[in-house]
Protein backbone atom coordinates (compact mmCIF):
# COMPACT_ATOMS: atom_id res chain seq x y z
CA UNK A 1 0.00 0.00 0.00
CA UNK A 2 2.98 2.29 0.53
CA UNK A 3 2.85 4.04 -2.83
CA UNK A 4 5.10 6.87 -3.94
CA UNK A 5 7.72 8.30 -1.51
CA UNK A 6 6.68 5.91 1.29
CA UNK A 7 3.35 7.59 1.92
CA UNK A 8 0.33 5.61 3.09
CA UNK A 9 -2.70 6.42 0.98
CA UNK A 10 -5.63 6.16 3.41
CA UNK A 11 -8.22 5.92 0.62
CA UNK A 12 -6.56 3.01 -1.18
CA UNK A 13 -8.22 0.45 1.11
CA UNK A 14 -11.63 1.31 -0.32
CA UNK A 15 -10.67 0.48 -3.91
CA UNK A 16 -12.97 -2.08 -5.47
CA UNK A 17 -11.08 -4.41 -7.76
CA UNK A 18 -12.20 -7.44 -9.76
CA UNK A 19 -10.70 -10.74 -8.58
CA UNK A 20 -9.57 -13.83 -10.45
CA UNK A 21 -9.65 -12.18 -13.87
CA UNK A 22 -13.40 -11.57 -13.70
CA UNK A 23 -13.05 -7.91 -14.75
CA UNK A 24 -14.59 -8.58 -18.16
CA UNK A 25 -17.72 -10.46 -17.05
CA UNK A 26 -20.79 -8.82 -18.45
CA UNK A 27 -24.52 -9.30 -18.17
CA UNK A 28 -26.80 -7.30 -20.48
CA UNK A 29 -24.09 -4.68 -20.94
CA UNK A 30 -23.34 -4.28 -17.23
CA UNK A 31 -20.12 -5.34 -15.61
CA UNK A 32 -20.75 -8.08 -13.04
CA UNK A 33 -17.14 -8.72 -12.03
CA UNK A 34 -16.60 -10.72 -8.84
CA UNK A 35 -14.96 -7.98 -6.78
CA UNK A 36 -13.25 -8.01 -3.41
CA UNK A 37 -16.44 -6.42 -2.05
CA UNK A 38 -18.50 -9.36 -3.34
CA UNK A 39 -15.93 -11.80 -1.95
CA UNK A 40 -16.21 -10.34 1.54
CA UNK A 41 -20.01 -10.30 1.34
CA UNK A 42 -19.84 -14.00 0.45
CA UNK A 43 -17.44 -14.68 3.34
CA UNK A 44 -19.75 -12.80 5.72
CA UNK A 45 -22.78 -14.77 4.53
CA UNK A 46 -20.99 -18.11 4.86
CA UNK A 47 -19.70 -17.32 8.36
CA UNK A 48 -23.10 -16.05 9.45
CA UNK A 49 -24.78 -19.18 8.11
CA UNK A 50 -22.24 -21.38 9.92
CA UNK A 51 -22.74 -19.38 13.13
CA UNK A 52 -26.50 -19.76 13.07
CA UNK A 53 -26.45 -23.38 11.82
CA UNK A 54 -24.18 -24.31 14.74
CA UNK A 55 -26.85 -23.14 17.16
CA UNK A 56 -29.81 -24.87 15.51
CA UNK A 57 -29.41 -28.25 17.20
CA UNK A 58 -32.39 -27.43 19.48
CA UNK A 59 -30.97 -29.26 22.46
CA UNK A 60 -33.03 -29.08 25.61
CA UNK A 61 -29.98 -28.01 27.60
CA UNK A 62 -28.23 -25.57 25.26
CA UNK A 63 -24.48 -25.79 24.84
CA UNK A 64 -22.24 -22.73 24.56
CA UNK A 65 -22.77 -22.28 20.83
CA UNK A 66 -26.52 -22.62 20.99
CA UNK A 67 -26.50 -20.21 23.95
CA UNK A 68 -24.61 -17.65 21.83
CA UNK A 69 -27.07 -17.85 18.93
CA UNK A 70 -30.07 -17.87 21.24
CA UNK A 71 -28.91 -14.80 23.13
CA UNK A 72 -28.43 -13.00 19.80
CA UNK A 73 -31.93 -13.85 18.58
CA UNK A 74 -33.32 -13.13 22.04
CA UNK A 75 -31.67 -9.72 22.01
CA UNK A 76 -33.35 -8.81 18.70
CA UNK A 77 -36.62 -10.34 19.88
CA UNK A 78 -36.59 -8.19 23.04
CA UNK A 79 -35.73 -5.09 21.05
CA UNK A 80 -38.64 -5.60 18.66
CA UNK A 81 -41.05 -6.46 21.45
CA UNK A 82 -40.07 -3.29 23.33
CA UNK A 83 -40.27 -1.01 20.30
CA UNK A 84 -43.15 -2.44 18.24
CA UNK A 85 -45.06 -4.68 20.61
CA UNK A 86 -46.55 -8.12 20.03
CA UNK A 87 -46.85 -7.69 16.25
CA UNK A 88 -43.11 -6.95 16.15
CA UNK A 89 -42.24 -10.65 16.48
CA UNK A 90 -42.77 -11.28 12.78
CA UNK A 91 -39.91 -8.94 11.87
CA UNK A 92 -37.35 -10.89 13.92
CA UNK A 93 -35.95 -12.79 10.88
CA UNK A 94 -35.35 -9.59 8.91
CA UNK A 95 -33.93 -7.48 11.75
CA UNK A 96 -31.81 -10.39 12.97
CA UNK A 97 -30.33 -10.96 9.50
CA UNK A 98 -29.73 -7.24 9.10
CA UNK A 99 -28.08 -6.84 12.50
CA UNK A 100 -25.86 -9.92 12.24
CA UNK A 101 -24.89 -9.23 8.62
CA UNK A 102 -23.77 -5.68 9.43
CA UNK A 103 -22.10 -6.77 12.66
CA UNK A 104 -20.16 -9.59 10.97
CA UNK A 105 -19.22 -7.33 8.06
CA UNK A 106 -17.94 -4.60 10.37
CA UNK A 107 -15.97 -7.00 12.52
CA UNK A 108 -14.53 -8.98 9.59
CA UNK A 109 -13.31 -5.72 8.06
CA UNK A 110 -11.29 -5.09 11.24
CA UNK A 111 -9.54 -8.48 11.18
CA UNK A 112 -5.76 -7.99 11.42
CA UNK A 113 -5.04 -10.45 8.59
CA UNK A 114 -3.00 -7.77 6.82
CA UNK A 115 0.06 -9.15 8.65
CA UNK A 116 -0.13 -12.33 6.58
CA UNK A 117 -0.61 -10.38 3.35
CA UNK A 118 -4.38 -10.63 2.93
CA UNK A 119 -6.47 -7.49 2.80
CA UNK A 120 -9.74 -7.41 4.70
CA UNK A 121 -12.34 -5.29 2.95
CA UNK A 122 -15.14 -3.57 4.86
CA UNK A 123 -17.98 -3.46 2.36
CA UNK A 124 -20.13 -1.51 4.83
CA UNK A 125 -17.78 1.41 4.17
CA UNK A 126 -19.39 1.80 0.74
CA UNK A 127 -22.48 3.89 0.29
CA UNK A 128 -23.82 1.57 -2.42
CA UNK A 129 -23.96 -1.36 0.01
CA UNK A 130 -25.39 0.50 3.00
CA UNK A 131 -27.72 2.36 0.63
CA UNK A 132 -29.25 -0.91 -0.59
CA UNK A 133 -29.66 -2.14 3.00
CA UNK A 134 -31.39 1.14 3.91
CA UNK A 135 -33.63 0.97 0.83
CA UNK A 136 -34.71 -2.56 1.80
CA UNK A 137 -35.63 -1.31 5.29
CA UNK A 138 -37.44 1.70 3.89
CA UNK A 139 -39.31 -0.42 1.35
CA UNK A 140 -40.53 -2.69 4.14
CA UNK A 141 -41.77 0.37 6.04
CA UNK A 142 -43.64 1.67 2.99
CA UNK A 143 -45.13 -1.72 2.04
CA UNK A 144 -46.24 -2.53 5.59
CA UNK A 145 -47.59 0.99 6.09
CA UNK A 146 -49.70 1.10 2.93
CA UNK A 147 -50.72 -2.57 3.21
CA UNK A 148 -51.98 -2.21 6.74
CA UNK A 149 -53.38 1.31 6.79
CA UNK A 150 -53.96 2.21 3.14
CA UNK A 151 -54.01 5.94 2.55
CA UNK A 152 -54.57 6.41 6.26
CA UNK A 153 -50.78 5.93 6.42
CA UNK A 154 -50.43 9.61 5.50
CA UNK A 155 -51.76 10.51 8.96
CA UNK A 156 -48.22 9.66 10.06
CA UNK A 157 -47.26 13.10 8.77
CA UNK A 158 -49.83 14.92 10.90
CA UNK A 159 -49.16 14.16 14.58
CA UNK A 160 -52.13 13.88 16.94
CA UNK A 161 -53.51 17.16 18.24
CA UNK A 162 -51.88 19.38 15.64
CA UNK A 163 -53.85 22.67 15.49
CA UNK A 164 -55.54 23.12 12.12
CA UNK A 165 -53.55 26.22 11.02
CA UNK A 166 -50.29 24.39 11.73
CA UNK A 167 -51.02 21.45 9.43
CA UNK A 168 -49.71 23.08 6.20
CA UNK A 169 -46.39 23.73 8.00
CA UNK A 170 -46.12 20.46 9.92
CA UNK A 171 -47.02 18.21 6.97
CA UNK A 172 -44.03 19.10 4.72
CA UNK A 173 -41.63 19.02 7.67
CA UNK A 174 -42.79 15.54 8.69
CA UNK A 175 -42.80 14.39 5.08
CA UNK A 176 -39.22 15.52 4.52
CA UNK A 177 -38.04 14.04 7.80
CA UNK A 178 -39.68 10.77 6.70
CA UNK A 179 -38.11 10.84 3.26
CA UNK A 180 -34.54 11.49 4.45
CA UNK A 181 -34.66 8.40 6.70
CA UNK A 182 -33.09 5.98 4.20
CA UNK A 183 -30.31 8.48 3.49
CA UNK A 184 -29.54 9.10 7.16
CA UNK A 185 -29.67 5.36 7.84
CA UNK A 186 -27.24 4.52 5.04
CA UNK A 187 -25.02 7.54 5.56
CA UNK A 188 -24.50 6.87 9.27
CA UNK A 189 -23.20 3.34 8.81
CA UNK A 190 -21.10 4.15 5.75
CA UNK A 191 -19.43 7.25 7.22
CA UNK A 192 -18.84 5.71 10.63
CA UNK A 193 -17.05 2.72 9.13
CA UNK A 194 -15.17 4.76 6.54
CA UNK A 195 -14.02 7.42 9.03
CA UNK A 196 -12.77 4.77 11.43
CA UNK A 197 -10.76 2.98 8.78
CA UNK A 198 -9.30 6.22 7.40
CA UNK A 199 -8.30 7.19 10.94
CA UNK A 200 -6.53 3.88 11.48
CA UNK A 201 -4.62 4.22 8.20
CA UNK A 202 -3.62 7.82 8.94
CA UNK A 203 -2.30 6.74 12.33
CA UNK A 204 -0.45 3.85 10.69
CA UNK A 205 1.27 6.35 8.40
CA UNK A 206 2.40 8.27 11.50
CA UNK A 207 3.86 5.05 12.89
CA UNK A 208 5.62 4.05 9.66
CA UNK A 209 6.95 7.47 8.67
CA UNK A 210 7.82 8.43 12.24
CA UNK A 211 9.78 5.24 12.84
CA UNK A 212 11.55 5.52 9.49
CA UNK A 213 12.68 9.10 10.27
CA UNK A 214 15.07 7.99 13.02
CA UNK A 215 15.12 6.81 16.64
CA UNK A 216 14.21 10.17 18.22
CA UNK A 217 11.15 10.49 15.93
CA UNK A 218 10.27 6.88 16.65
CA UNK A 219 10.19 7.59 20.39
CA UNK A 220 8.36 10.90 20.00
CA UNK A 221 5.87 10.04 17.22
CA UNK A 222 5.97 6.35 16.29
CA UNK A 223 5.43 4.69 19.65
CA UNK A 224 2.75 7.08 21.00
CA UNK A 225 0.88 6.76 17.68
CA UNK A 226 1.12 2.98 17.91
CA UNK A 227 -0.34 2.99 21.43
CA UNK A 228 -3.09 5.33 20.26
CA UNK A 229 -3.76 2.98 17.34
CA UNK A 230 -4.33 0.05 19.70
CA UNK A 231 -6.84 2.17 21.63
CA UNK A 232 -8.58 3.33 18.46
CA UNK A 233 -8.77 -0.28 17.25
CA UNK A 234 -10.62 -1.19 20.45
CA UNK A 235 -12.89 1.80 19.89
CA UNK A 236 -13.54 0.63 16.33
CA UNK A 237 -14.71 -2.76 17.58
CA UNK A 238 -17.13 -0.90 19.86
CA UNK A 239 -18.27 1.29 16.96
CA UNK A 240 -18.79 -1.79 14.78
CA UNK A 241 -21.21 -3.16 17.36
CA UNK A 242 -22.92 0.16 18.04
CA UNK A 243 -23.48 0.94 14.37
CA UNK A 244 -25.00 -2.48 13.71
CA UNK A 245 -27.22 -2.01 16.78
CA UNK A 246 -28.24 1.52 15.77
CA UNK A 247 -29.11 0.37 12.24
CA UNK A 248 -31.30 -2.42 13.59
CA UNK A 249 -32.82 -0.18 16.28
CA UNK A 250 -33.74 2.62 13.86
CA UNK A 251 -35.15 0.12 11.36
CA UNK A 252 -37.35 -1.33 14.09
CA UNK A 253 -38.50 2.19 15.09
CA UNK A 254 -39.40 3.00 11.51
CA UNK A 255 -41.29 -0.28 11.21
CA UNK A 256 -43.08 0.68 14.42
CA UNK A 257 -44.28 3.88 12.70
CA UNK A 258 -45.65 1.82 9.84
CA UNK A 259 -47.15 -0.82 12.10
CA UNK A 260 -48.82 1.42 14.69
CA UNK A 261 -48.82 4.88 13.08
CA UNK A 262 -48.38 7.39 15.90
Amino acid sequence: MAAEEGKVDPMHQFTIEPLMGSGGWELAGFNIAFTNSALWMAITTVLLTLFVAGGMKRELVPGRWQMMVESATGFIDDMLEANIGKEGRKYVPYIFSLFMFILFANLLGLLPIGIVGLHPFTFTSHFTVTGVLAIISFAIVLIVGFWKHGFHFFSLFVPHGTPLPMIPIIFPIELISFLVRPFSLALRLFVAMMAGHVLLKVLSSFVIDGTNAGPEFAALVGIPSFILMIGISALEILVAGIQAYVFALLTSLYINDAENLH
Partner: protein, 75 residues
Protein backbone atom coordinates in the same frame (compact mmCIF):
# COMPACT_ATOMS: atom_id res chain seq x y z
CA UNK B 1 -6.87 32.37 -3.35
CA UNK B 2 -7.34 29.67 -5.98
CA UNK B 3 -10.19 27.21 -5.93
CA UNK B 4 -8.09 24.24 -4.76
CA UNK B 5 -6.90 26.06 -1.66
CA UNK B 6 -10.44 27.22 -0.88
CA UNK B 7 -11.67 23.62 -1.09
CA UNK B 8 -9.03 22.43 1.37
CA UNK B 9 -9.79 25.28 3.78
CA UNK B 10 -13.47 24.44 3.52
CA UNK B 11 -12.74 20.78 4.24
CA UNK B 12 -10.73 21.82 7.28
CA UNK B 13 -13.53 24.09 8.49
CA UNK B 14 -15.92 21.13 8.20
CA UNK B 15 -13.91 19.49 11.00
CA UNK B 16 -15.50 22.06 13.37
CA UNK B 17 -18.71 20.10 12.84
CA UNK B 18 -17.03 16.95 14.12
CA UNK B 19 -16.05 18.79 17.30
CA UNK B 20 -19.59 20.09 17.73
CA UNK B 21 -20.94 16.55 17.34
CA UNK B 22 -18.46 15.45 20.02
CA UNK B 23 -20.10 17.96 22.39
CA UNK B 24 -23.51 16.63 21.40
CA UNK B 25 -22.61 12.96 21.91
CA UNK B 26 -20.92 13.80 25.20
CA UNK B 27 -24.08 15.60 26.28
CA UNK B 28 -26.25 12.60 25.42
CA UNK B 29 -24.17 10.11 27.39
CA UNK B 30 -23.41 12.57 30.19
CA UNK B 31 -27.06 13.37 30.81
CA UNK B 32 -27.97 9.71 30.62
CA UNK B 33 -25.32 8.75 33.17
CA UNK B 34 -26.31 11.59 35.46
CA UNK B 35 -29.92 10.53 35.59
CA UNK B 36 -29.08 6.81 35.52
CA UNK B 37 -27.11 7.23 38.74
CA UNK B 38 -30.02 9.04 40.34
CA UNK B 39 -32.45 6.27 39.43
CA UNK B 40 -30.54 3.11 38.43
CA UNK B 41 -33.75 1.08 38.36
CA UNK B 42 -35.13 3.03 35.39
CA UNK B 43 -31.85 3.19 33.49
CA UNK B 44 -32.05 -0.13 31.61
CA UNK B 45 -35.44 0.69 30.15
CA UNK B 46 -34.11 3.87 28.57
CA UNK B 47 -31.19 2.36 26.71
CA UNK B 48 -33.03 2.36 23.40
CA UNK B 49 -33.71 6.08 23.71
CA UNK B 50 -30.09 6.64 24.70
CA UNK B 51 -28.91 5.12 21.43
CA UNK B 52 -31.52 7.00 19.39
CA UNK B 53 -30.21 10.26 20.86
CA UNK B 54 -26.65 9.13 20.25
CA UNK B 55 -27.44 8.23 16.63
CA UNK B 56 -29.13 11.57 15.97
CA UNK B 57 -26.27 13.58 17.49
CA UNK B 58 -23.64 11.49 15.75
CA UNK B 59 -25.26 11.73 12.32
CA UNK B 60 -24.83 15.49 12.25
CA UNK B 61 -21.14 15.12 12.99
CA UNK B 62 -20.78 12.47 10.29
CA UNK B 63 -22.42 14.87 7.84
CA UNK B 64 -19.52 17.25 8.38
CA UNK B 65 -17.18 14.42 7.42
CA UNK B 66 -19.23 13.91 4.26
CA UNK B 67 -18.95 17.64 3.50
CA UNK B 68 -15.17 17.43 3.86
CA UNK B 69 -14.96 14.33 1.63
CA UNK B 70 -17.14 15.96 -1.04
CA UNK B 71 -14.97 19.08 -0.96
CA UNK B 72 -11.75 17.11 -1.31
CA UNK B 73 -12.74 14.35 -3.73
CA UNK B 74 -15.85 15.45 -5.62
CA UNK B 75 -16.12 19.23 -5.88
Amino acid sequence: MDAEAAKLIGAGLAAIGAGMAAIGVGNVFGSFLESALRNPGAADGQQGRLFIGFAAAELLGLLSFVVAMILIFVA
